[in-house]
């Protein structure tokens, strides 16, 4: 039994969640503090990957990172970094699709934080970084946890953009969702069913753990 689709999917999910958590919080904090016009514009831009078809996002990523094009070529020639047809491609594709979930959850959570608490922290002399770390993040823990879990689930199951950018290379870029598509094409419904059960089980466990963690946090 080849467990590589599970391992690749989990690794991708973990890497994307890790990146999205920090970048999402930082971006949400910057947008939170920006004036309304900038807020509207950046909000639309950062939400876009979530609403456009994943294959469209994958196509754009392919154009950007193709080794025959300037950016992809530059990365390969100067740093030896290859995004297309690689695990890094899985991460980049899943990050683009799943990042908006983290960003939007973080921003919504920040908007819920009592503004007086942030103002009080400022007048007490706390730096903006310290306010984010010590006041805003703890006060918006619920939203950040649920954002992270949704990001993980979305990243782990991403298919459209991943198949365009990273391809479907067994043992290298084939995640569970890609494996399912592949075995169904081969007519192997039993194997497809197995992977469907695996992916549903993981999603169920992750969401249940999140619910338990959140209810404990609320009771605290």
């Amino acid at each position: 039994m080849d467990w590589s689709p599970l391992i690749i999917a989990l690794k991708t999910g973990a890497a994307v969640t890790f990146l999205s958590f920090f970048i999402g919080i930082w971006t949400a904090w910057k947008v939170y503090g920006a004036d309304n016009k900038i807020k509207c514009f950046t909000d639309s831009l950062l939400t876009l990957p979530m609403v456009i078809p994943p294959t469209a996002a994958g196509f754009i990523l392919l154009l950007v990172f193709s080794t025959r094009r300037p950016i992809g070529g530059f990365l390969l020639d100067n740093f030896g970094i290859r995004v297309v047809q690689s695990w890094l491609g899985c991460v980049v594709a899943a990050f683009v699709i799943a990042f908006p979930l983290m960003y939007r959850n973080a921003r919504a959570a920040f908007e819920q934080v009592d503004k007086d608490i942030i103002y009080a922290a400022r007048t007490l002399g706390m730096s903006e970084g310290s306010i984010l770390r010590r006041v805003v993040i703890p006060a918006s823990a619920h939203g950040l946890i649920s954002g992270s879990v949704l990001t993980f689930a979305r990243a782990m199951g991403e298919y459209g953009a991943t198949s365009m950018l990273a391809g479907n290379i067994s043992g290298k870029t084939a995640t569970i969702s890609q494996k399912i598509a592949m075995v169904v094409q081969d007519g192997n419904y039993a194997m497809a069913g197995f992977w469907v059960i695996v992916v549903i089980s993981i999603a169920f466990i992750v969401i249940t753990v999140m619910n338990i963690a959140l209810s404990k946090l609320i009771r605290r």
Partner: protein
């Protein structure tokens, strides 16, 4: 200690336009809800940025639109006490206080907690504290940041009536040793009277009166200040030949004061018996409203009156005198308003 502000900020239909210069250490800002009191505090602390003007405290320029000065709230040294107290729920009392202590501070959290009687609850979180403990923590945290000005934004309005007096007393005693300026914003007369020596009356974003608190309460200069300082009876007045006519109440007063647009009378400024030269008012068509320790009587003071005025009678006065059919008013108790 000195405070000098001249700020303008446009919020669409509402325009804030505040100007004040003074040296009092205890300043009160009185105004109705939505009059711009809290916004004024927020511009002083740097939370809100005015469109134009300047803010100076003890000669230190905190904001000056002409010279592009806008010190961040972090560096203004203004301690802001919010109505909600804004304690950090995820931190203990001690951590909350430490959050206010700067890197080069001379004071330690232990010293402050001892001074405020918080040492025995240092490890508790805000949700485990009583209202009084929360307030002490909030003030201790502010003083830990060594501010030169403390801004109190409706400090007691969210409290239950029965603990309000106690908390007011405790706040006043905690602030006794604070050398800097304290600016209190409130729509509560008692709060503002207790916490300020100088009063700024604000209406609809504009300053309408500035003066010694007692003076403004005793003789408000205009009808808005009269209403805000709790004057129950206000009526339009006209000067003619050495007399002031009050058509709404159908009465006249002898006064040489020509510059009068309204007169006011507090609901307790009356007597049951005549004492030399007093004005007699009839209690016609009385309506009685029960109050916790007495009643308020609304009545027409003369045959010609078109509007009612009111007097407040305590339960003990009621017991001895009942509702009178006439009352006597010293003409000097009428407040002449411009």
């Amino acid at each position: 200690m000195s405070l000098e502000i001249k700020i303008k900020k446009n919020y669409g239909e509402f325009k804030l336009n505040i100007e004040y210069k003074g040296e009092s250490r205890r300043i009160g800002i009185l105004g109705a809800s939505g009059s711009g009191k809290s916004l004024t505090l927020k511009t002083i602390s740097g939370i809100e940025r005015p469109d134009e003007g300047f803010v100076k405290i003890d000669g230190r320029v905190l904001f000056d639109s002409n010279n592009n000065v806008n010190i961040t709230p972090q560096k203004r040294k203004t301690g802001y006490m919010f109505q909600s107290l804004a304690l950090f729920d995820n931190m203990s009392v001690e951590q909350n206080i430490k959050a206010g202590i700067g890197r080069n501070a001379d004071i330690t959290a232990q010293e402050i907690m001892e001074r405020f009687g918080l040492s025995n609850i240092a490890g508790r979180r805000p949700h485990e504290l009583s209202q009084g403990q929360k307030q002490r923590t909030a003030l201790a945290r502010i003083l830990a940041s060594e501010p030169s000005v403390i801004l109190l934004d409706e400090p007691f309005s969210s409290l239950d009536f029965h603990i309000r007096d106690e908390m007011q007393e405790s706040l006043i005693s905690m602030l006794e040793n604070f050398d800097g300026t304290v600016i209190t914003v409130s729509h509560s007369l008692e709060e503002i009277y207790a916490l300020s020596d100088e009063l700024i009356v604000i209406d609809n974003g504009n300053v309408c009166a500035v003066g010694i608190t007692e003076d403004i309460f005793n003789s408000p200069p205009d009808s808005i200040s009269a209403v805000l300082t709790g004057c129950e009876n206000i009526a339009h007045a006209e000067y003619m030949d050495g007399k002031i006519y009050i058509p709404d109440w159908g009465i006249e007063l002898s006064s040489p004061n020509k510059d009068v647009s309204h007169v006011a009378l507090r609901a307790r400024s009356f007597y049951y018996d005549e004492r030399g030269g007093m004005l007699c008012l009839f209690v016609k068509e009385p309506n009685i409203k029960k109050t916790p320790f007495g009643c308020t009587v609304y009545f027409k003071p003369s045959e010609k009156a078109s509007e009612k005025m009111c007097i407040k009678i305590s339960s003990s006065e009621m017991r001895y005198n009942g509702i009178p059919d006439r009352i006597y008013v010293d003409e000097r108790d009428f407040i002449m308003l411009k």
